[in-house]
C-alpha cells in the first residue's frame, strides 16, 4: 500500500498549525491548501507578492492582474495583502514564513535538498527555490519515496546540484513521514499496510524508529495500490 499524491498533501495539511504562514511549491504542494480544515486559519504566500491567497479563480472569474507564482489565476481571502518582490522575499529570506512545502528530487540524511536541476535538463532555472530553501523557517518536502525506476530519493548524499544544504525539516512521501534531525533521519509514520522495514528498504540512509512511530491515520480515499511514480 501507499498514498496518492493527494494523500501526501493531506498529511502536510493536517500538520500545518493555525495561524501559520506557508509557501507552497508547484506539484504536490499546490494540493495542500485544499486539505486544510475549514475552521483552521492558515495563510498562503506567493512569491510574486501575495499573502492570504485563496483558491484558484473560477473559470470566467479570473482577475488578469492576480496570479500566483505558478502563473495560475488565483483569488484573495479576506485579510489578504499584496506587495512587491523585495517585500515578498524579505518575508522568505528573513525567516518570516513558517513553512515552505516543496517538491524535491533528492533529500540527504543531513537535510540537503536538490530540487532545482532535473537530470538532463539543458536550460537551467531556479526561480524562488533557493530563497525558500535558505530562508523559510521549516522546509517540508513532499515527493514520491522512490524514483520512477524504483531508486530511493532519500539518500546518504545528494547526487544532483543542491538547492540548499541542511534545510529540510520533514519529508512526506507516499510511504512515510520522516523527520530530519541532528541525530539523523527518524521515521515517524508509515503508510497503511507497510512497516518500518519496508520503508527502510526504499531509503538509503538508516532510519531511526521514533518511539511513537505509527501507521498513518489517513482516510481510505487517499490509499493507493502501489507507489505513485
Amino acid at each position: 500500500m501507499s498514498l496518492t499524491r493527494e494523500g501526501i498533501a493531506y498529511l502536510v495539511a493536517c500538520d500545518l498549525p493555525e495561524g501559520s504562514y506557508v509557501n507552497l511549491g508547484i506539484g504536490i504542494p499546490t494540493l495542500v491548501s485544499g486539505f486544510v480544515p475549514r475552521d483552521r486559519e492558515v495563510f498562503f504566500h506567493s512569491e510574486n507578492g501575495i499573502l492570504g491567497m485563496g483558491p484558484l479563480a473560477e473559470p470566467g472569474h479570473e482577475d488578469p492582474d492576480l496570479i500566483n507564482a505558478g502563473k495560475q489565476y488565483v483569488t484573495l481571502l479576506p485579510g489578504a495583502s499584496v506587495f512587491d518582490h523585495p517585500t515578498s522575499f524579505s518575508m522568505i529570506r528573513g525567516g518570516h514564513i513558517n513553512y515552505a512545502v516543496l517538491g524535491a528530487l533528492e533529500v540527504a540524511a543531513n537535510g540537503d535538498m536538490a530540487n532545482w536541476r532535473t537530470p538532463g535538463e539543458k536550460v537551467p532555472g531556479v526561480g524562488g527555490a533557493m530563497d525558500l530553501a535558505f530562508g523559510v523557517q521549516s522546509v517540508l518536502v513532499t515527493m514520491t519515496h522512490v524514483t520512477n525506476k524504483g531508486k530511493p530519493k532519500i539518500l546518504n548524499k545528494c547526487s544532483l546540484p543542491l538547492t540548499a544544504p541542511r534545510c529540510v525539516k520533514r519529508i512526506y512521501t507516499d510511504m512515510a513521514v520522516v523527520d530530519v534531525t541532528l541525530e539523523g533521519l527518524i521515521l515517524r509514520e508509515f503508510a497503511p499496510g507497510l512497516d518500518p522495514a519496508a520503508v527502510q528498504k526504499h531509503t538509503e540512509p538508516p532510519l531511526r524508529i521514533a518511539p511513537d512511530c505509527r501507521e498513518m491515520d489517513i482516510p481510505a480515499r487517499f490509499h493507493a495500490a502501489q507507489l505513485t511514480p
Binding site: E18, G19, Y21, E41, F43, H45, L51, G52, L76, P78, G79, A80, S81, V82, F83, P86, T87, F89, S90, M91, I92, R93, G94, G95, H96, I97, G135
Partner: protein
C-alpha cells in the same frame, strides 16, 4: 481563529526583559507608540537598548524611560533633538551609551535585518568620523562602508488601522521607521487608532502585512503620550 489583538498595551509589553533591544517606531509624533511606551515604563524592564531616530522629548514616552534610568544604550541618528533633555543630561554625565548612525543607514540596517541579509555597503559616511573603525571597500570606483543588520528583540509601533490578523495601514507620514522595524524584531506589537474587521483593509492598502505583527492593541490617542512637536530633525 487567529486573534492577535490584546486589550491593553500592558499585555503587549509584558514580556520585555532586562537587557532587551527594542526597535521603537515613529519619527516625531506620527507613528510613535506613545501608550506602549508608557506601559513599558510601568512594566519595569531595565538595561534596555532603544533604537529610535531621536532621543524622545522631555520626561514622557521615550524621554521618560531614559529619565528613569531604564535605558543603557540609545541607537539613534538625531539624539540631540531640542526636546531630548533626558537623554542629553545622562549622556553628558556618561550614564548612557550612544551609537550614532546616519538616518538612512539606520533605516537600511533595520530593513536588512528584516530581509535576512548579512549586511550591505553604503556610501554614506565614507571618509568621515562616523566610518571610523568600520570596514570600507571601493566598489566600481566609489568608497563604501560596510554596515550590519540591526535586529530587535521587540518592536513597538503605532499605525492607523489594524485587524486581528496583524495587518496594518498607516496615515500620511506614519510609515517612517515602522515599516522596516516590524520586520526586524522577534516580537512585534502595534497600537492602532482603529481596530477593523478582517477584510475592511483593502489588500492594496495594507502597508504592513500581518505576517510581521504579533499583537495589535486599539488605543485612544492622548496628547500626553505624544512627543512634543519641537523635537527637531
Amino acid at each position: 481563529m487567529v486573534n492577535k489583538t490584546l486589550a491593553t498595551c500592558r499585555e503587549a509589553v509584558a514580556n520585555v526583559f532586562d537587557g532587551a533591544t527594542i526597535l521603537l517606531g515613529g519619527f516625531g509624533d506620527p507613528g510613535l507608540p506613545g501608550q506602549m511606551l508608557e506601559a513599558l515604563r510601568e512594566q519595569g524592564a531595565k538595561d534596555l537598548t532603544m533604537v529610535h531616530n531621536g532621543s524622545g522629548g522631555g520626561t514622557h514616552a521615550l524621554g521618560g524611560l531614559i529619565h528613569d534610568g531604564r535605558v543603557r544604550k540609545l541607537i539613534a541618528s538625531f539624539p540631540n533633538n531640542p526636546g531630548g533633555t533626558s537623554f542629553q543630561e545622562l549622556y553628558l554625565k556618561g550614564q548612557i551609551e550612544l551609537e550614532l548612525v546616519p538616518q538612512g543607514t539606520l533605516a537600511e540596517r533595520i530593513r536588512a535585518a528584516g530581509a535576512g541579509l548579512g549586511g550591505f555597503f553604503t556610501p554614506t559616511a565614507a571618509g568621515t568620523e562616523l566610518a571610523k573603525g568600520k570596514e570600507t571597500r571601493v566598489i566600481d570606483g566609489r568608497e563604501y562602508v560596510f554596515e550590519k543588520p540591526l535586529h530587535g528583540d521587540f518592536a513597538f509601533v503605532r499605525a492607523y488601522r489594524g485587524d486581528r490578523l496583524g495587518n496594518l495601514s498607516y496615515r500620511m507620514a506614519m510609515r517612517n521607521f515602522n515599516v522596516p522595524m516590524v520586520t526586524a524584531a522577534k516580537f512585534v506589537a502595534a497600537e492602532v487608532d482603529e481596530l477593523v474587521p478582517v477584510g475592511d483593509l483593502d489588500p492594496e492598502d495594507v502597508h504592513t502585512p500581518g505576517i510581521f505583527v504579533d499583537r495589535v492593541v486599539e488605543v485612544v490617542r492622548h496628547p500626553k503620550y505624544l512627543e512634543i512637536t519641537t523635537e527637531g530633525r
